[in-house]
Symmetry: C2
Subunit: 320 residues, 2 copies
């Protein structure tokens, strides 16, 4: 059984991505077991997905009877207070799903639900790079831009649970039209796919070389840049410039102590971080820039699942 | 003497602007007396300004012996927790001034200090258009763009007390270089002066008319637009488009329940608000736009002074 201290208690974290749903049993700060993932496309309808999730939860609970609660992160608009998925960005058919109630019925455990990037931010804040801070912005840069914000020692949810949608922040008011009709969303400029397309175009026009898109992933572009390739160096610098515009909006609105950055694009490491620091330094009041940290995320792909498990225990403690 | 309820207690609010400092005695929700303003330029040095402020405070305290505390709003970076002015935007010589301690010494009263726009936001939140809400963004549009944010039922201050600098939020990552080296700050596109210059240029090029700058204030442009002038209508639509880009960044980062807008430019009223609603509606997820309010501020020029007086009593209550 769990001890008096919430850190020692056991819970299940569930992390839903675009293609699969992952499960883990988390005790203290560690993943002690993983469940078999659910492949969402194989299931088809939301109902079939939920049935498969319920099955996994019951199996894990049987194996780990000291599990106290279950938390789930989902990729889209999740209203934590209501326990409802409003809509998911890249998963069709999920509208107004009372997911918390369903999880509770399926598992027999108290449940909590959140946006997946908010779960990631919780993990980095409670156990990772943002430990002990009160004001942080956590980003994950990959296919899209996900983020979660801690403001004044609380996860920032906003009026409808939709705060922290950093990927939608505009960097050009006359720019291309994005997912919600919004102009110049940063996500439309610096996702993996955008970087690859931009690199392909530059290789063709600047060096007269045709490169297939699948040889232009962040890892390829990182290697090329490290080898001194001017196109790849230009791509990273340009990505840093555009990302900095989004972070500057966060800085001037939120005044955080740190930006914590993870995900595939962040793996470019020193390349991206050095450029980013340069653009931020040039555009922030010096005394404020001095006290701003730009840090790599500590957790990798497991931040979401750990954060969901933490959230489950937090919410449980709050209702006791 | 003040009653048990903070709303009935009396405090002094001080509001520092670019040219003068205003004083009022506030009881409950009302201004019951005003002090003679201090003209900052006549004083010269910060020390002389502070001496004049101290004199006014002692005079008001003598007249109103039930005054319990003093609060002051200042136009720039104010660290509320430390009680220090880091720097003021348009008032030279104010760097690292321990203004709270000075106010306490000069007045013999407990003191609190804040950014002036944060004071305005406090007034609109506690007593004005944002009453009862948990998540609001309050803007004042004039020479510059000032703002204060209430997030999850708290004034959002951030790590160094510099949150809510909406005027510095960029709307174009390749745009003009602003006050802190930052690109495309919205304030550099929609201040009174910018609107006048833009209007002057358009009158000349589109209608072949030369208009002096002082006939192109927000009030003139509002009248012209109401009269159907295409140049003035275009100016307001363009201002709304640019302002919407800044509000969209706030929406996606903070997910507020309402934007509350005051100041000289906001006096264009229906013209500006209708255009603004159109641009926001087109760029926000419909279910979220439906629940977003765009409201005129309830207080006029007195919001800052009332908010400063409220802050003084809030901080006093917190230390009891």
């Amino acid at each position: 059984m769990g001890g008096m201290n919430g850190q020692q208690e056991t819970s299940i974290g569930v992390d839903m991505g675009g293609t699969s749903i992952k499960f883990a049993v988390v005790r203290g700060e560690k993943i002690i077991a993983k469940g078999e993932p659910v492949q969402t496309k194989e299931c088809g309808s939301p109902d079939a997905v939920i049935a498969a999730v319920g099955e996994r939860l019951r199996a894990l609970r049987e194996q780990y009877p000291d599990v106290r609660a279950v938390g789930m992160g989902l990729p889209g608009f999740v209203n934590h207070a209501a326990g409802v998925v409003d809509s998911l960005t890249n998963v069709p058919g999920w509208y107004d799903v009372p997911i918390r109630r369903i999880l509770e019925e399926e598992s027999g455990l108290p449940a909590a639900v959140e946006n997946d990037a908010n779960c990631m931010a919780l993990a980095e804040w409670k156990l990772g790079a943002g430990r002990g801070m009160q004001d942080i912005v956590c980003l994950t840069l990959g296919t899209g831009v996900g983020a979660g914000i801690i403001a004044q020692g609380q996860l920032l949810r906003g009026h409808l649970g939709a705060a922290g949608e950093l990927g939608q922040v505009g960097i050009d008011y006359r720019g291309r039209i994005g997912h919600y009709g919004n102009r110049g969303a940063v996500e439309d400029y610096i996702g993996n796919g955008e970087l690859a397309l931009e690199a392909q175009m530059r290789y063709a026009t600047e060096l007269g070389v045709h490169k297939p898109i699948d040889e232009l992933t962040p890892i390829h572009l990182e290697d090329a840049a490290k080898g001194g390739c001017p196109v790849a160096l230009g791509i990273w610098d340009d990505a840093a410039r555009k990302l900095s515009a989004c972070l500057l909006a966060c800085h001037y609105i939120l005044n955080p102590q740190a930006f914590i950055i993870g995900g595939g694009i962040a793996k470019a490491g020193k390349l991206l971080f050095d450029s980013l620091r340069g653009y931020l330094k040039a555009q922030i009041y010096p005394a404020h820039y001095e006290k701003l940290q730009i840090l790599p995320a500590q957790f990798g792909g497991e931040a979401g699942i750990i954060g969901a498990a933490l959230l489950a225990l937090e919410d449980l403690a709050a209702t006791r």
